[in-house]
């Protein structure tokens, strides 16, 4: 971000065409310099400088999402200046505008971290505006261009928290973390659970490709603990849909697929004034991610790096990165928190131009093994067909998962006589009881509260009240 954001005024005598051409020639969005050539206002009027800035940024009314009010226009202008990493905004013909309008523009730009240059050709108007804006009078426009990117962590590997069993990770998390930490992690876990459940319902078949990629995208998180939480959420959803699952991280660090829009693609993306529309089009047209996956991505899964925006295994650059940044910023402006999804607007159209989708898949970061169990937890769940190319988890894992589903189908007060279980399930029962996932009493086995809590079937407040000493407890996720 620029260190000094005070607006500058410059006297350019723009009535000379070569002078104005020189100023207009400074426009280079890729380098962070935007030259705004405004529509003249009515005499002494305020004009629509926010709209002019959007137009200078490449936005077009015909692309949809064009702001209908000046408030929305100003908001979008700020969001896009920040998202495009614009360091310098040059307004030519500034003398046509009322000083108050120029002050609004300078304030908007300052909030976006952008330096403003106001080019006048009338010394009196320059002086008047300069006094109102406390602007520096300079001799020439000398934009420095881009701003510093925010360095960020790269591919974080999941880090587990102490838990006696993978089936109890959520319940164990409630003991390990403070309320705020737990809320933070639980929000990611639940998001992955919900998104995976939606994804499974939408699929006719689950195969190697879909099971490598979707969980991989869902698990993206720069914070290792959160990544682990997301993987647990994915596993819980698969179990409830009737699948035993084993998920392991690949040892080799996967490099993201770098996607840089061509000049024409960048211009096409930049036509969208609405951040949601621009970001959705960037993802659907450039990446291999489908609509359901894209709608499941959370705000904190849009990861800023020094060389672009990392999302779902792709590193987006240029206009595509700006679109993602803008949408993330717009959602935060709306009051959303980082665990909420990047896209909340169901009206976004899916039928967009596709530029080379399917050509380059993101790297595989997970190994997922899957086997179908006898039935899902809720029999109304749609169960997709499993393709033959899938590896299956260990038999013990399958037995435990089967038993857990049988127990979770029962009301909490009911239990199954151990004598009814066949030999492999008895062994699974012993293992689950040893880790407090189940309890055995007088020859009857039942799911413990720990297990129900871990499978999103149990009210965490009740669980905490019974099992943990009282402390402040808020279930709303924290940013």
């Amino acid at each position: 971000m620029s260190t000094d954001l005070a607006p500058r005024t410059v006297l350019r005598a723009e009535r000379e065409p070569q002078t104005l051409a020189g100023l207009l020639g400074l426009h280079d969005l890729e380098s962070g310099v935007v030259v705004c050539h405004p529509v003249p206002p009515r005499a002494g009027g305020a004009g629509q400088l926010a709209l002019d800035v959007l137009h200078a940024l490449g936005k077009r009314p015909s692309a949809g999402g064009w702001p209908r009010t000046s408030g929305v226009a100003a908001h979008y202008a700020k969001v896009w200046l920040e998202a495009e990493r614009v360091g310098d905004l040059v307004l030519v013909r500034a003398g046509l505008f009322a000083p108050a309008a120029l002050a609004e523009l300078a304030s908007l730009a300052r909030e976006a971290g952008t330096r403003t240059w106001l080019a006048f050709d009338d010394p009196k108007r320059r002086r008047a505006a300069g006094e109102l804006l406390s602007a520096q009078a300079v001799d020439a426009v000398q934009p420095s261009g881009g701003r510093c990117g925010e360095p960020t962590p790269g591919g974080a590997r999941a880090r587990a928290w102490p838990t006696p069993s993978p089936w109890l990770a959520r319940a164990a998390g409630a003991r390990t973390f403070t309320a705020q930490e737990f809320n933070d992690i639980d929000a990611r876990m639940y998001n992955a659970f919900k998104a995976t459940s939606t994804y499974i319902r939408s699929q006719r078949e689950l195969g190697y490709r879909s099971l490598q990629h979707f969980p991989g995208v869902m698990a993206v998180d720069p914070v290792p603990l959160r990544r682990h939480a997301r993987l647990i959420g994915v596993g819980c959803a698969l179990l409830q849909h009737g699948f035993a699952v084993e998920i392991r991280e690949r040892r080799i660090a996967a490099e993201p697929v770098v996607l840089t829009p061509t000049r024409a693609q960048a211009a096409q993306l930049r036509r969208h004034a609405s951040p949601a529309s621009a970001a959705f089009h960037a993802l659907t047209s450039l990446t291999d991610l489908d609509g359901i996956t894209i709608r499941s991505i959370t705000l904190d899964q849009v990861i800023e790096t020094a060389s672009g925006v990392w999302i779902g295994g792709y590193l987006l650059q240029g206009a595509a990165a700006a679109a993602l940044r803008a949408q993330r910023t717009a959602q935060y402006f709306r009051g959303l928190v980082s665990s909420q999804t990047l896209f909340m607007d169901a009206r976004i159209r899916d039928d967009v131009t596709v530029w080379g989708r399917g050509d380059i898949a993101p790297p595989i970061t997970l190994e997922v093994k899957l086997a179908r169990l006898s039935a899902p937890l809720d029999i109304s769940f749609h169960q997709p067909h499993l393709e033959a190319d899938l590896q299956t988890p260990a038999q013990e894992t399958q037995d435990e998962a089967e038993l857990i589903l049988r127990l979770l189908r029962l009301t909490p007060s009911r239990a199954i006589p151990l004598a009814r279980l066949s030999r492999p399930y008895r062994a699974a029962a012993a293992r689950l009881t040893a880790t407090s996932a189940t309890s055995v009493h007088e020859g009857l086995i039942a799911a413990s509260d720990h297990l129900r809590f871990s499978q999103f079937l149990f009210d965490p407040t009740r669980f905490m009240a019974k099992h943990i000493e009282p402390r402040p407890w808020h279930l709303q996720p924290q940013a």
Partner: protein
């Protein structure tokens, strides 16, 4: 974008029969200037006293050309930026897009900038003396972007050049303005025989008398005079302007 060849009928004022196109100094300079303005997508201006042939010259020089695309706009009385934008949008895009003046302007700029690969676009604003400060600024806004690839011509009669000069942002951009002046006596006597056959063997003194009393070197007046005189010639079968016919026409009210 529609490509319709600009092809208005060549009409002299009052449309007298049998008249030819005379190559006035203004017409020749305008041809030279237009060639440069169109080739370099510049801003040109044709100005001068009403009736000296500016519009006629532009129509002659631009009509039926397949190497350019001409959009001809007559500036209305008391124009606004919005009215200019709407007329231009209709001529360029074939429709007026919905939206505010700003949205319309963005559409227009895109349409005007995106001309590469096509034949040069020439936008003519006739009666440009009607432009006010706001509209002049607006025309400059449309023409200024460095990628703009169209030529703009301002043509207007009395007060047009004063209007352009009053707006420094327009004035400084005009490439070699062409001033159309009333014809002097010498030029008149050279041109008139080419204009109509009735002047070929006419008495030069008589022609100068007519010019002094009625036409003042202004072609539009000569056109009106020629139309009236031709009407009187036809029944008498005369070929050359005589003093008697000239007197009858001069006695008629203007």
């Amino acid at each position: 974008m529609a490509t319709i060849t600009f092809n208005p009928p060549i009409r002299h004022h009052a449309d007298p029969p049998g008249v030819g196109i005379i190559e006035t100094e203004g017409l020749l300079i305008a041809e030279h200037s237009l060639r440069y303005v169109i080739a370099h997508r510049q801003l040109g201006a044709l100005t001068g006293v009403a009736g000296t042939g500016k519009t006629f010259a532009l129509q002659v020089l631009l009509r039926a050309r397949r190497d350019i695309r001409v959009v001809w706009i007559e500036v209305q009385v008391k124009p606004t930026m919005l009215s200019i934008a709407r007329v231009l949008a209709l001529a360029l895009l074939g429709e007026v897009p919905r939206g505010s003046r700003h949205e319309l302007s963005y559409h227009l700029q895109d349409a005007l900038v995106d001309q590469s690969g096509e034949v040069p676009l020439v936008v003519v604003f006739d009666e440009a003396q009607r432009l006010n400060n706001e509209c002049a600024e607006y025309l400059r806004y449309l023409h200024d972007p460095h990628e703009t690839s169209f030529a703009m011509l301002l043509a207007g009669g009395n007060g047009c050049w004063e209007t352009i000069r009053r707006e420094p942002m327009l004035h400084s951009r005009v490439h070699e303005p062409v001033f159309f002046k009333p014809l002097g006596e010498k030029a008149l006597l050279q041109m008139l025989p080419n204009y109509h056959a009735m002047y070929e063997h006419a008495d030069p003194e008589l022609l100068l008398e007519v010019d002094q009393q009625r036409c003042h070197g202004i072609l539009r007046h000569w056109s009106a005079f020629t139309a009236s005189a031709a009407q009187l010639h036809a029944p008498r079968g005369e070929q050359t302007l005589t003093g008697a016919i000239a007197e009858v026409v001069l006695r008629q009210p203007k």
